[in-house]
């Protein structure tokens, strides 16, 4: 059973389009992180959200934490080929030492 469900699993879009990736759970998390991973590399931290309802912006990326701290979304405006990668959400901790990654969204932005 996946504690954190990400959707969609795959996304292939043209440069300039907008997109939203979702990370959903039935459990409450004290914090949630978003990462981007390129092939053959480790995930790189993009943002942490801690407060329910929190919205954070990182250039063209907007991250939102749900009011109940059970879900989060990542919105990319005017996607660029450099945004291509695997996007992962990480929730935790849940019961002391349990950290859960979402299954990931593989994004491909075509020029």
């Amino acid at each position: 059973t996946q504690l954190l469900e990400q959707s969609p699993q795959f996304l292939s879009i043209q440069e300039g389009e907008n997109l939203t990736v979702y990370c959903n759970s039935s459990s409450v998390f004290s914090s949630l992180q978003w990462y981007r991973q390129e092939p053959g590399e480790g995930p790189v931290l993009l943002v942490t959200v801690v407060t329910g309802g929190e919205v954070k912006k990182l250039k063209r990326l907007t991250f939102q934490f749900g009011d109940a701290r059970k879900d989060s979304s990542l919105h990319i405006t005017a996607a660029q080929p450099g945004d291509t990668g695997l996007y992962l959400c990480l929730g935790g901790p849940y019961n002391f030492n349990k950290f859960y990654f979402g299954s990931g969204t593989k994004l491909n932005v075509k020029p």
Partner: protein, 115 residues
């Protein structure tokens, strides 16, 4: 900047060999983690350490052990490598559990192939 380094980027070992993967972080983080990442299965936690000499099993500890003798170093040991342990291994570190923020910082990964 937080830096997490892993001893090898690529490793090829034979079935039955003992394999050591080492991870070093330079940010005085209390927590260190070992994950494996496989296509279709995502990242799965193998072991977690919250202090020197302290360890907790993750979701898939079978066939692995860990060692943390110094705060900055966390080793993953495959006692007798098997082909189903072929994978990408990722090490991460984070601050301790106080404070509400648990960002994990990852190393570049070790691609292990067991033949």
């Amino acid at each position: 900047d937080v830096k997490v380094t892993q001893s090898s980027r690529y490793l090829v070992k034979r079935t039955g060999e003992k394999v050591f993967l080492e991870c070093v972080q330079d940010m005085d983080h209390e927590n260190m983690f070992w994950y494996r990442q496989d296509p279709g299965l995502g990242l799965r936690l193998i072991y977690f350490s919250y202090d020197v000499k302290m360890k907790e099993k993750g979701d898939i500890p079978e066939g692995y052990s860990v060692s943390r003798e110094k705060k900055e170093r966390f080793s993953l040991i495959l006692e007798s490598a098997s082909t189903n342990q072929t994978s990408m291994y990722l090490c991460a570190s984070s601050r301790g559990l106080a404070g509400g923020r648990y960002e994990q910082y990852f190393g570049p990964g070790t691609r292990l192939t067991v033949t």
